[in-house]
Subunit: 418 residues, 2 copies
Amino acid sequence: MSEQQHQHVVIIGCGFGGLAVAKKLINSNCSVTIIDKSNHHLFQPLLYQVATADLSPSDIAWPIRNVFAQAKNIKVIQDEVTYIDKNRRQVKTINGQYQYDQLVVAVGAENTYFGHEEWQANAPGLKDLSDALMIRERILSAFEKAEQCEDLKLREAYMTFVVIGGGPTGVEMAGAIAEIAKSTLARDFRQIKTTEARIMLIEGGSNVLNGFDPKLCQYTESALRELGVELVFERFVENIKPNQVILKDQCVSANTIIWGAGVKSKVANLLDIKAEANGSVKVDPYLRLPDFTDVFIIGDAAWVEWKGNKTVPGIAPAAKQQGRYVGQLIRKPSNKPSPFKYNHSGNLATIGRHKAVVDLGKMKFKGWLAWYFWGFIHIYFLIGVRSATVVLLQWFWSYLTNKKPARIIIGKLFNKRD
Amino acid sequence: MSEQQHQHVVIIGCGFGGLAVAKKLINSNCSVTIIDKSNHHLFQPLLYQVATADLSPSDIAWPIRNVFAQAKNIKVIQDEVTYIDKNRRQVKTINGQYQYDQLVVAVGAENTYFGHEEWQANAPGLKDLSDALMIRERILSAFEKAEQCEDLKLREAYMTFVVIGGGPTGVEMAGAIAEIAKSTLARDFRQIKTTEARIMLIEGGSNVLNGFDPKLCQYTESALRELGVELVFERFVENIKPNQVILKDQCVSANTIIWGAGVKSKVANLLDIKAEANGSVKVDPYLRLPDFTDVFIIGDAAWVEWKGNKTVPGIAPAAKQQGRYVGQLIRKPSNKPSPFKYNHSGNLATIGRHKAVVDLGKMKFKGWLAWYFWGFIHIYFLIGVRSATVVLLQWFWSYLTNKKPARIIIGKLFNKRD
């Protein structure tokens, strides 16, 4: 296959990876079908800001079909893939099935509760917009309920927020909730003092932001403590009941429990093959499924060797690089393609206003400079000019006023829990 | 009672009326409790723009407690009132009860289905943010389903949108859906032609915008027809089944049915007294409940005599005027207060881009000038500078690009219907 013509390419998932593949195939010889269970591409790095009422869903999401409105060779289907038949080259979805010549699997990863999936209802994770809105409603409603609650013990539970997992998402969530309680809402209530809210971050390891430079980890921990976050290290969650987190040596009553302790891809199930520990699937140097060279796997779904026995991290830049590589390979097939090479640009995490850490390998910095750098990078990478402008304005305004503009409990959206 | 001190005022509902009362009582001698079932004040005139994906919920809603953060005499409770005991001066809510010295009932109105409340699930109305988001998801999902649907008859039902009721809300919704189909989404789909969508507006009377100048009604009708809206007059809905509207002489299959045919206040139930036809309660010239001069009723909940046997219309400016009047009366009680006098400034309705009607009594105009006037008035009255700025920018951008920025199907928000 030195020249490829009228191939039908199916892309499953339109996150950073899938989007990058499809963009490379705009106006190519291939006809492309994108299948995604939602109608939008999501800028996941800012999802926690929807959960913490800084941004609205439409600030960080774009209708996929609008991105490709002008690309007549690209079709978008909102549907969920249930099975991939590698031998018959078929993708089965809830509502139909699609034949492919080449397939790109970019399904990403979902929250995993390590075999305790029943914890999910009590401790939602943060993967899509409905998760973010649900968490937002829980956080805001907890303060509303506390304000009306006469029972002091119950009130304490309403005012307790537990975040499980000390990775970037956990740090961002804990820091943002602390800011909401200690600053944004400080003057809004009469019965309760929101500044007395208890925010706990529970991490199984001995530090937050595992994988970052130790000095940056230390800074993050002291910055979190300064914001009033209680750090609990080397504790694994033994059970999560409704409004209760049980650890080895304590039991915490909390109305709001947020899960950020692990993700897992369901790609191996879809393909009916063996998975790595995080649910991803090992690929060859060209990001193809060994033995099935018409199946590419990218992003969080792929286990891509990096620096010996490690895998490329599950972050947006990695998925994008893989997507661009595969898109190019499909667009211009070669008999001797060069293998995929991951270029790691660095790690970023934000803790709160004027507090962030940046680890670019050779360069490491923290504090307000890191925070501005983080903000700049994120706005820069938001696709779509409109949203970048609006988000910039929103942020600038939030920055000046220190208010959370999207502090709206919509209600009726979710089944009531209590 | 010539001097009032440390009275406890309870305000039920924080729409335009309740908000205006509370604002008048900032830093007064009274202690004030606002009870609202949601945590936000909603700028209802723009709610249809949330339903049609032009604006996000937080663009038109503000946390009530933030509005009164600095007013130490004002307390905000998010709760739902279940009963008002006029004799004991008690307001009962789901979670508690509140004693009052003076009460302001500003509960507004809800959709009414004229005894067919079972229609609601099939034909939601547009009263709060969750309604608006649900209608948005239905409209957007209908096109997604049509794109995947091979059955031509079913596809036609997905592509049919029925709006019931030819008042301002019905006209705005029908016009906005037509614009979405004919223009915003025109290039986004491959299997369907969104320009072929069928949009029906059903009205029991013989014209739209009843109460407006006949010339403006005529203009509105021709503008709607120009946008491709099918107008059906003098037909009452006999039944609404899932995805089906049944009229005397036809049965329309439609996946999206929107109700805008009538509203009713539940105030009379709460007070356990006789209601007028629209559910509201007749008040004395000082907007008080006859025989209970410590109970004020304002806004859509009140039947206020105007021009003989008519009532003041259920629009935002009327509720605001009543709220300011009552707030003033409570703040500075007088033995001889002047009765409330309604000052009608006019009627506005928008149909679509560059198409609106304005009826100011002496001055009537239509078309692009009316559209700009409508936009200016609405932005001007949005409280809160942030939102006005962001909304202005959003609108300006929408105007330039003719895109709907909030075209996001969030999913999982509502129970699936089909």
